[in-house]
């Protein structure tokens, strides 16, 4: 997992910090493509695009050092601010749990099998396994798969765009 807590003095941009350990794990994993696919689905439930962005909720109290200031200026055009590690750590403590965490705590597996629950209401896998493939770059039927991340594309033109812009994005 994130080794930040054990190494409070390491200085890297937020993005690098968050991405790096996961990237390492992903590359080491034999099932990179599955991981990329899951991360992509996960991203569909995000409120704000940058998963690595920590929102500055109480604007006044953030203490900023030089590196962060510089980073803020870089990010300002995108409307997000950065906090110091300490401020982030404080915030993480009072941050609400995600639904997945609450679900885990609810321990629905311990319910008797006849009791309806969130988990049992999931529709389940489709009966037919025929999955249609659309090119993630242009949207048309895609017959090729990226060997690194498993995402589909239709042509070498779209493959190039994929490699330049989005390949492994969702592994991160």
């Amino acid at each position: 997992m994130d080794d930040d807590a054990t190494n409070p003095f390491r200085r890297m941009s937020s993005r690098t910090r968050k991405v790096a350990p996961k990237m390492v794990a992903a590359l080491a994993s034999s099932d990179n493509r599955t991981q990329a696919a899951l991360a992509r689905l996960e991203a569909l439930e995000n409120d704000n695009a940058g998963v690595e962005v920590v929102e500055n909720i109480d604007d006044e109290d953030a203490s900023l050092d030089d590196d962060d200031q510089a980073y803020i200026q870089k990010r300002q055009s995108k409307g997000t601010k950065r906090k110091t590690r300490q401020a982030k750590a404080l915030e993480a403590k009072k941050a609400p749990k995600t639904f997945m965490e609450l679900l885990h705590e609810a321990n629905l597996e311990s319910l008797p099998s006849h009791v309806p629950s969130y988990s049992k209401a999931a529709v389940g896998p489709p009966s037919s396994t025929s999955r249609r493939h659309f090119c993630t770059v242009c949207g048309f039927a895609a017959s090729y798969t990226c060997i690194r991340c498993g995402i589909r594309f239709c042509s070498s033109r779209c493959q190039n765009i994929h490699n330049d812009t989005r390949c492994l994005k969702f592994v991160a």
Binding site: E45, K78, P96, L102, R132, G139, F140, A141
Partner: protein
Amino acid sequence: MSNVVVLDNGGGLLKAGLGGDLDPSVIIPNCLYRPLSAKKWLHPSPISISTADAATEAPSDLDLTSASVRRPIDRGYLINPDLQRDIWSHLFTSLLHVNPSNSSLLLTEPLFTLPSIQHATDEIVFEDFNFASLYVSDSPSLVHFYEASRRPTSLLSRAQCSLVVDCGFSFTHAAPVFQNFTLNYAVKRIDLGGKALTNYLKELVSYRALNVMDETFIMDDVKEKLCFVSLNVPRDLQIARKPGKENLFRCTYVLPDGISYTRGFVKNPDDAKRYLSLTDEVSSPSLGVKKDVIELDVSEKTEDRKRIDLTKNEFDLTNERFLVPEMIFHPADLGMNQAGLAECIVRAVNSCHPHLHPVLYESIVLTGGSTLFHNFAERLEKELRPLVPDECQVKITTQEDPILGAWRGGSLLASSPSFEAMCVTKAEYEELGSVRCRKRFLH
């Protein structure tokens, strides 16, 4: 008699008003946002009722370009009670002007809400706001209740049974309702709703045209104005590749520039409507056959490339318009290991007593904002018919206003004579606690 505040607390939109009214008096996004120009998180301004169909916001000067958003609800469920309390406080005090301590509250809650979340909700209702009493209901049973009283001679009303398909912001449920109660053992859920659709549209546009990953509010507008459900995906993919006027789907959306206009808009609304001329008649080769054709079609690819102009504050849409809502029908296309809507409905029906099957298939009600896409019901019927036994009729009803259906049912229920007896009072809550009070709301 005291007021009943009826609150349909959706993950996307919050609908609120007084029981007995025809429509909610306030519709507001259930979030705080922070536009680039603002230093603080702001309460969104209410959406005007008359335009609720298109879910457009009342005119405001606020430019929501790259605004960040905070929502109290994640995957349909309340995860941030503090934030929800802020939003409700603003709602009750500044928008509804009600005094909770002499009001009852009828609150919608998603199916299968975890006990810890129910507990947190009860605390806000009774301890923070001091409501006199509370009744908790779910959207499918309220939608059924509304439809049953609106159409008293329908089969739905006579049999007291329907299958409510609620495709909202956070997820999609196929929920059988019998005698005004949702049969929760038979409910089936797809983990896709309007939020995921908007995010998918952002993803598609960002890789094909320009980066709109931060534009939640703008892309919601694009989705609502331009997306539709295809009745023939292989055919429509072909049409979407055609150049010039033959391409019935190509249209342009102009982003706000922050100077002359603070909201985005569709460039040529008439062009955007050309797809309506398509009928369901034309058949086309299957997707499998078409692959080869597409790969050889080099000229079209350069054409495709040309429309990507990063210097312009506008972008074109073609196949994105129907590939986005397509997810609800085929989540597997996205790599999601979940059945599509038609199968979801069949599984919900099959979990009910066989005597109910014919009635359920004949009384399907569509509700929720994500059912507003053009051709949604037609496509669903087309996919559902082959999966349903021949002796059953398939009849799908679209709600008059799918965003307000649950609220209107709640308003009716709140004004019924039996309502008061169904509520849990503050005194009962204090005496019995959350868990025992909650049992009251079950059958």
